[in-house]
Subunit: 238 residues, 2 copies
Amino acid sequence: MANPRPNKRQLSEPTISRLPVYQRIAESWESRGRVAIDSSQLGELAGVTPTTVRRDLAALGSFGLRGSGYDVSTLRERIADALGHDREYGVVVVGIGNLGRALVNSSNFLTRGANLVGVYDKDPSVIGTEVAGLLVQDLASPIVSATVAVLCVPPAEAQAVADRLVEQGIRAFLNFAPQVIALPPGCAVHYVDFSIELQILMYHVNNGTGPLGGGVLHSLGITANSARRNIQRNFEKS
Amino acid sequence: MANPRPNKRQLSEPTISRLPVYQRIAESWESRGRVAIDSSQLGELAGVTPTTVRRDLAALGSFGLRGSGYDVSTLRERIADALGHDREYGVVVVGIGNLGRALVNSSNFLTRGANLVGVYDKDPSVIGTEVAGLLVQDLASPIVSATVAVLCVPPAEAQAVADRLVEQGIRAFLNFAPQVIALPPGCAVHYVDFSIELQILMYHVNNGTGPLGGGVLHSLGITANSARRNIQRNFEKS
DNA sequence: GGATGTGAAGTAGTTCACAGCC
DNA sequence: GGCTGTGAACTACTTCACATCC
């Protein structure tokens, strides 16, 4: 496991999930030659309140300029530093079906230090084929050293595959299988479950209509209230 | 917009995201002939505490049997009812690249009332081809009536595409583009952002090691603390 | 002036602990 | 006896409001 950074304060989970959003905005402004952005602008583009933006960024140390906002390149650097973007790390993808193949070929997936270092499957007809420049290896063979495993296997196999990967030294998992997995202490998992996302959306479509016509849903730390407020602000303008 | 259900209490967002997990477990137990499940068992399988399970289920009305737990088929029915699984609804997928194609062909995606009713792209070389039994339509043509749109377009186009779909009557979005979108009141959006998920995982790998070896990450309403507790419980047994 | 950064207040969600019921 | 359902306590996060600083 990589050695932890020194004395960084622990960031809250919602804050962590919003930082990458701010960072993309900072990069976009930087590339368009803008020098500074303030918390209202950043909040509007990120779908959160200005106060939330300021709290999030204050947790990275005070680098805002009172009166004018945040310098976009400092902003980008601070977030990159907080998220460890200077560090390269290896990713293996296990289960090379439609989804696994789409992920490794997606330009939105492996960014900011993530390097694809191995692709695995158990199907003999897939093993040995090439995806994203790598040959698919037999899942039964030793797993290359990596930091994160992306699981795209059928749900019934997810636990067994995870167990084996933990044995082989993997400690972080991005699990696309619709299946909760148990891991020993020291391991981390995030779930991406398409069907559940649709079900949550449909709950709100069926139930969500309040007096003013319903809510915008949270995700990525963007809460219903903060997002709704921003959205309404947008549309009042037009 | 579909007429809202009558007098259902509003469920909290974390509860909503956990219900589908409980439901899958209920179905699995039912299919294996088990009659009842208690909050500890359900919590262990879902990665949350028994108290959280009881609070979540109590919000659906009291149907547990004191002394023996929850009847699995009642459990399944109550959750299906709360989530509106008796209602069929239409889904359109916009942007038929690798990801869009993988999604519509995935058995994990369109479940529980979701019906694929249209697939759209703007690329002439894709329009007219067949995916998942449907012909890809020109995004510029009228959009078929549907409840949810799945956005798999490049981030730079996401806002414009969403605007157009809102115009065409769509009110709920599952957005796979790494781009926050603004929507008018009454609309709902959920974001699925693979790159952000990896970044969050890496934050924890780099910083997460506490005295006992770090944390399990939240997602789907499974919090670090509750999951860690359950995970440790699992491993103490072995 | 105009924006940040932050105590204080407010709100939401989780966990404790136990009364109530099967 | 055992497990649910829930008031009360606690914890986490957001929002308000304003002192602070460029």
